[in-house]
């Protein structure tokens, strides 16, 4: 059997060489394609007739505006801004309702544990660790996701994303990448791990690799809550309230996305001049007709598919993380908890980057899923002595302030979250797609290097100029 197989393969190879000889080294692809196109055209000229050519052009009129050189980018940015604004404005109240709801339940749970005389450690692990951790994830993450994903899906179904790709194409071409990278980036807003699979639409392996390496610089849903929360707590100035506050938060988020895009383009440019050298290939980007989205269906499906899936994942990972964090925070060695020892170990390095040891530890423990970085951080802070009764979103700020946070800490954490290595699932997908350990490791190391470099630079500058 074995010999027969290898014989088969060899003769197939010889077949190809015969074929290559026959083709005479010429490019017969064009001839093949024109053969097929000719047949299509002749069928259509027989069978398809147009009553009104003008109607066909309505899409082009809109496209002339949204992909124009002057209006393309302003329209794109304002749409993005509006999406953020809707998300933040809409998520604010439900988040605090959920937080206080879970706070009330926690009171009952604690009472129940006391009633049955459960040992303190059990109450600690289950209520203060597990329950508080997961309820945190839900109240901070669910409302923004329930708004952001459906709105984004509506835009997608309307047909706007290919126009974004069209606008971005020039930038990507200049940086040596592929215009379709803009589409895989859009996918990354939802989930980087899924976006890695979506890079399959890019034909050239070189450009696909660029898209894979840089996808991480688009904040995924695991990082949105961190970015939204920190920017609304620390980036809006003390006096601002209401609509103005929402507006500033939205602009800060926009800024983050823009930084992500700039880094994407820079990394693409550097890589395409060094390790992934090559000329961008030509391709045709289809601008599909605009279609009226099926509004309710889209909302329901995107809520179910995205929001709930993401939430389930977050809870599944956050629950054990909550327990581990609590145990680390309550196991004492030499008078200090293990958690504090670990935080103290990372602290000097983290301080250079404008953060503290707890934040660094949260990022490290958060490798399996970015969703749990913030919950781990909060649990870490809470178990380290500064117990705050958390029943509203504003008291989260008190937790942070008690641990010496300034706007620089928040900014550094946001930047680090935006730029640092992708989550474990994404890395596994990168390895599966590229089948190369080298690229999987590089796609964690390159972003990490950039994250460290950028936060270091920002922290040092802020300190030199005495802004903090």
């Amino acid at each position: 059997m074995e010999s027969h197989v290898s014989k088969g393969s060899d003769s197939l190879d010889s077949l190809l060489s015969v074929a290559k000889k026959l083709a005479d080294g010429g490019a017969i692809r064009d001839e093949i394609v024109s053969g097929i196109y000719g047949v299509s055209a002749s069928i259509c000229s027989d069978a398809v007739s147009y009553r009104d050519k003008k109607k066909l052009n309505s899409t082009f009129k809109l496209d002339n505006i949204v992909t124009s050189k002057i209006w393309g980018f302003p329209i794109m940015l304002s749409i993005l801004g509006i999406v953020f604004w809707i998300t933040i404005a809409g998520a604010n109240y439900p988040s605090s309702w959920l937080a206080s709801f879970f706070g009330i339940i926690e009171g009952y749970l604690t009472a129940g544990f006391q009633a049955i005389h459960a040992p303190d450690w059990l109450h600690g692990v289950l209520v203060l660790g597990l329950y508080r951790g997961t309820s945190w994830v839900i109240s901070v993450m669910l409302p923004p996701m329930m708004i952001f994903f459906p709105v984004f899906a509506l835009l997608e179904n309307f047909g706007y994303l290919p126009r974004v790709a069209f606008n971005m194409d020039r930038l990507f071409k200049k940086s040596g990448g592929h215009g379709k990278q803009a589409l895989t980036m859009s996918m990354g807003f939802g989930c980087n791990a899924a976006a890695i699979l979506s890079t399959r639409i890019i034909e050239s392996p070189r450009e696909r690799m660029l898209a894979i390496l840089t996808n991480n610089f688009v904040p995924c849903n695991g990082r949105w809550p961190t970015l939204i929360l920190l920017s609304s707590l620390f980036m809006t100035g003390a006096a601002s309230t209401g609509a103005f506050k929402t507006l500033t938060t939205a602009s800060v988020l926009m800024g983050m996305v823009l930084i992500g895009i700039v880094v994407t383009l820079s990394v693409s440019w550097v890589m395409s001049k060094t390790a992934l050298r090559g000329v961008p290939t030509h391709y045709t980007l289809e601008l599909p007709p605009y279609r009226r989205p099926q509004i309710w269906r889209t909302i329901l499906i995107s809520s179910k598919d995205k929001s709930l899936n993401v939430l389930t994942r977050a809870i599944v990972v956050a629950a054990p993380a909550g327990i581990i964090t609590w145990v680390l925070g309550n196991t004492f060695i030499g008078g200090e908890s293990v958690l504090n020892h670990m935080a103290a170990f990372f602290d000097p390095f983290a301080q250079m980057l404008g953060m503290d040891g707890y934040i660094m530890m949260a990022f490290i423990l958060g490798l399996p899923a970015n969703e749990i970085v913030l919950p781990i951080l909060l649990m870490g802070y809470m178990s380290s002595g500064a117990m705050v009764d958390i029943d509203s979103l504003s008291s989260i700020k008190d937790v942070f302030l008690n641990h010496g946070w300034t706007w620089l800490t928040a900014l550094s954490m946001m930047l680090f979250s935006l730029l640092h290595y992708p989550c474990g699932t994404t890395l596994v997908n990168i390895y599966k797609e590229t089948k190369s350990m080298k690229w999987a490791v590089l796609s964690a190391v390159i972003p990490l290097g950039i994250a460290i470099g950028v936060t270091y630079a920002v922290a040092q500058l802020a300190r030199i100029f005495g802004w903090v």
């Binding site: 393969s9 299509s40 069928i43 259509c44 398809v48 147009y50 309307f158 639409i201 007709p289």
Partner: protein, 241 residues
């Protein structure tokens, strides 16, 4: 009750996934941009007491192995040999979409061409002469609107006729220029001799002339792995319909 496999092929963004969801009752996310379906999805549906396994292939513009997507779609049609390949076309840009249908017909005659978004085309004042197209292609051609559930029964009837062999298809053959045809004529017997009549020899000859290394790799892979049950990358969903 008999069991058939139907593969859904089509250009990106032709409503292929919408039709797939409608038939299988699955709720894959559908979006209005090229390249959304990245992994083959599977579901099931029944029609007139026949069970169908539906396979949603990635949306592609051609089967010329330009990308991993196109290779996946091509390999499925050639090597898995579905009972029916349903080619979904966009009625509003039929000329461009037909190219893929023609390429599928070069591989398999067991095909049904499904022109989707017919309501949109009517709105834009596009008239399509179904009979003329069907006559040229030699396979059943149906117009539907997946999102408004128009023409679905008629489509499934045609799928059934092809699946059960009630409709003997006579897929159109594209005649290329003399040079290519000479090459095909010379290669086809060699291909047939080497890999038997299981695979479309004329089409493979054409692809080899085009220097398609990736098809060759897939052929080798398939000849080798014929003994081993294939591990495919497929997402399984629950079946609700």
């Amino acid at each position: 009750m008999s069991h058939y496999t139907v593969a859904f092929a089509g250009n990106p963004n032709t409503g292929k996934s919408t039709l797939f969801n409608l038939l299988t009752g699955m709720r894959q996310h559908t979006g209005n941009w090229a390249g959304k379906t990245v992994i083959t999805a599977e579901g099931e549906f029944t029609h007139n007491n026949h069970m169908y396994r539906a396979v949603d292939l990635p949306g592609t513009y051609s089967l010329y192995s330009n990308s991993a997507d196109e290779e996946a779609a091509r390999d499925y049609i050639i090597f898995e040999q579905p009972d029916v390949t349903l080619v979904v076309l966009d009625a509003t840009s039929l000329e461009r979409n037909l190219n893929l249908a023609l390429q599928v017909l070069e591989i398999t005659g067991r095909a049904v061409v499904c022109i989707n978004l017919i309501d949109e085309a009517r709105r834009l004042g596009i008239d399509i002469n179904l009979k003329a197209i069907s006559k040229r292609l030699g396979v059943p051609v149906v117009t539907i609107s997946a999102r408004n559930k128009i023409g679905i029964e008629a489509l499934l009837d045609q799928v059934e006729r092809v699946a059960t062999g009630a409709f003997i298809t006579d897929p159109m053959r594209i005649i290329y220029n003399d040079e290519i045809e000479r090459g095909i004529a010379e290669l086809t017997p060699m291909v047939e001799q080497m890999i038997g009549s299981k695979y479309p020899a004329r089409w493979i000859a054409l692809r080899l002339l085009d220097g398609d290394d990736s098809l060759l790799a897939s052929l080798k892979e398939n000849i080798k792995s014929k003994e081993i049950p294939e591990a495919k990358e497929v997402i399984g969903y629950g079946v609700t319909c």
